[in-house]
């Protein structure tokens, strides 16, 4: 355990849409931009497809953090579905807080097909943030959920 | 590992908080030198200095007067198409050359800056008469006379202080500086 905390490598599940953010990842690849290897991506057609179940399933399966990524607001291939993802994102953050999971383990990243560099640097940043949070520890039964529930400022 | 870092990197490393693109991105367009009001007096124009740094010609750079002639007007910086912070680069070169004690002979800049820094450390504020000896003897006779004439007139017009200015909390001020630079290095 001590060894784990010393060189803790978080595992992160990332969801991308098919049109912008997955292509941003492709772009980062084509341009050989380097980023941390901790994120494993799942391609959806649209960030609007993101069922909150997926996020909870990822945490339940042992992921230390989840990244949600889609087209910039206004640029959605399906007109406006990324706004739905945005709304679900805020909801999920609250639920996670209530479950005693740091909301910093869920990140939303808008990346257009041209923003490979942003995609790469944001992933590296996120990995560092999660590394600082340490491995995800589900609160044990009876354990006090210390995070205040209603103090979160909604964006 | 014995990685030797390039002169370009060495200089870049001296730019602690300066923003801007690294020197290696310079496209040698000459906007900086075309803009510079002092370029005509420099051994090498700012563009040439960047080229020399990128080529690793350290001696040539440090022996030049270029960075001591920079007036800090930032005109090159706002125009650089590659967003290189050229003025800060000139600062870095001054710093580098003072630390290494390596600079062109007969320049007033290095001695003047040393005197200035010491003065602030002692009093917290600037006091012009203290500065004079640091440069007055490096001026040629005519320039020295000019300086004395000017000082006299300033004094007559009530524009030159007679007593050195000092801040009140000078002791804690000195200790504050001590936390950044060991005092021995300056005094």
């Amino acid at each position: 355990m001590t060894e784990e905390t010393k060189s803790f490598e978080p595992t992160i599940i990332g969801f991308t849409c098919n049109w912008c953010s997955y292509r941003a990842a492709d772009m980062a690849g084509t341009a050989r931009m380097k980023y941390a290897p901790n994120v494993r991506l799942i391609r959806l057609m649209c960030s609007g497809r993101l069922d909150p179940t997926f996020v909870f399933k990822a945490f339940a399966s042992g992921a230390d953090a989840v990244l949600i990524s889609g087209c910039h607001p206004g640029d959605c291939h399906y007109i406006s579905q990324n706004y739905k993802a945005l709304r679900r994102f805020h909801l999920m953050k609250r639920v996670l807080t209530q479950l005693g999971i740091e909301p910093g383990r869920l990140k939303l990243l808008w990346a257009s097909a041209a923003e490979g560099a942003i995609f790469a640097s944001e992933i590296t940043k996120f990995v560092e943030e999660v590394r600082a949070l340490g491995p995800l520890n589900w609160p044990q039964p009876g354990e006090q959920v210390s995070t205040p529930i209603m103090e979160e400022v909604t964006a | 590992m014995t990685d030797t870092i390039s002169f370009s990197q060495e200089v870049s490393n001296l730019l602690y908080a300066a923003e801007g693109e690294p020197l290696r991105t310079c496209i040698q367009c000459g906007t900086c030198s075309g803009t510079c009001p002092v370029a005509g007096y420099m051994d090498y124009t700012p563009r040439q200095i960047i080229a020399l740094i990128n080529a690793g010609n350290k001696e040539q750079v440090l022996e030049s007067n270029t960075f001591w002639y920079c007036a800090s007007c930032y005109h090159c910086t706002v125009r650089c198409p590659q967003k290189i912070n050229i003025t800060e680069l000139m600062y870095a070169l001054k710093r580098y050359s003072i630390w290494k004690g390596q600079h062109k002979e007969g320049l007033i800049g290095p001695t003047f800056s040393e005197a200035f820094v010491k003065m602030i450390v002692r009093g917290g504020r600037s006091f012009e008469p203290v500065l004079a000896p640091s440069y007055i003897f490096s001026l040629n006779l005519r320039e020295m006379l000019q300086e004395v004439t000017n000082a006299t007139e300033l004094l007559l017009k009530g524009r030159l202080p007679v007593l050195p200015a000092r801040i009140k909390r000078i002791d804690s001020f000195k200790r504050m500086i001590g936390r950044i630079i060991p005092m021995g290095g300056l005094e």
Binding site: - | P37, Y41, A71, K94, I120, S126, Q146, K157, I177, R179
Partner: protein
Amino acid sequence: MKEYAYFPGCSLEKMAVSYHLSALETTKKLGIKLKELEDWNCCGATTYFYIDELLAYTLCARNLAIAEKTGLDVVAPCSACYKNMYFTAAHLKKDADLAEHVNFALEEDNLQYNGNVNIKHLIEVFAQDVSAEEIKSKVTRPLEGIRVAPYYGCQIVRPQKEKEDVEQPQFFEGILSAIGATPVNYPLKMRCCGGSLIISSRTAALAMVRNLLQSAVDSQATVIATACPMCQVNLECYQQQVNQEFGTNFSFPVLYFTQLIGLAFGIPPKKLGIGKEFVSIAPSLLRAGQSKD
């Protein structure tokens, strides 16, 4: 009543005392209070920034920390002080590591800087915080027919801060128009006066001063208006040396913009520090100021 924390800077204590006087007088007329920062220290000038950045940031941060306690915006009349403090604040805001270093040193003086200070140049107070209408309303002796060369110099506008125009700003002209003067087209208004090169590289600096003076003459200006003590001293006090060096014959008045505003406001010249300059200002200027008595 607007209130600012006022950082005069070393030059204004003696060398540019007329700037200091006129700044206080004119702002008072506009209902602005300049409250001098308690026990301020030198901003480090250009020199500190090239000797040791960290030390330079600490010097500026000490002033910022003192100002922060007042809860007021800081006003600096000197362009170099302004630039140093503005960018120190900007860097400290962005760079937490730097802020930690600096605050460690500030502890010795029982100070702490939390990044909540706005820094303005004195001319920005006149150009942005006060409307042209407010200035006009205080003018009792408009400087009609006085052609003024607005000399911006360097560090008010450079380096660039946001997206503002750094090549052809117009705010100085706006102030001059508000006091009834005629701002002339002064092509070199953004060029450097030589700054500290006047000490370290005399010939270069004198040539720069020569160009600025010549351009003002060519623009048929009566007076050059400056907003920086360094610029004023270089442009005014070294005219004799320029004349020796280049065989010219300059005798061109250089005033602080606050002195011109003061004249237009009808403040007695003496209270504005007029009389301390090497080159006496043209009687026409004084007359313009006093004519409507």
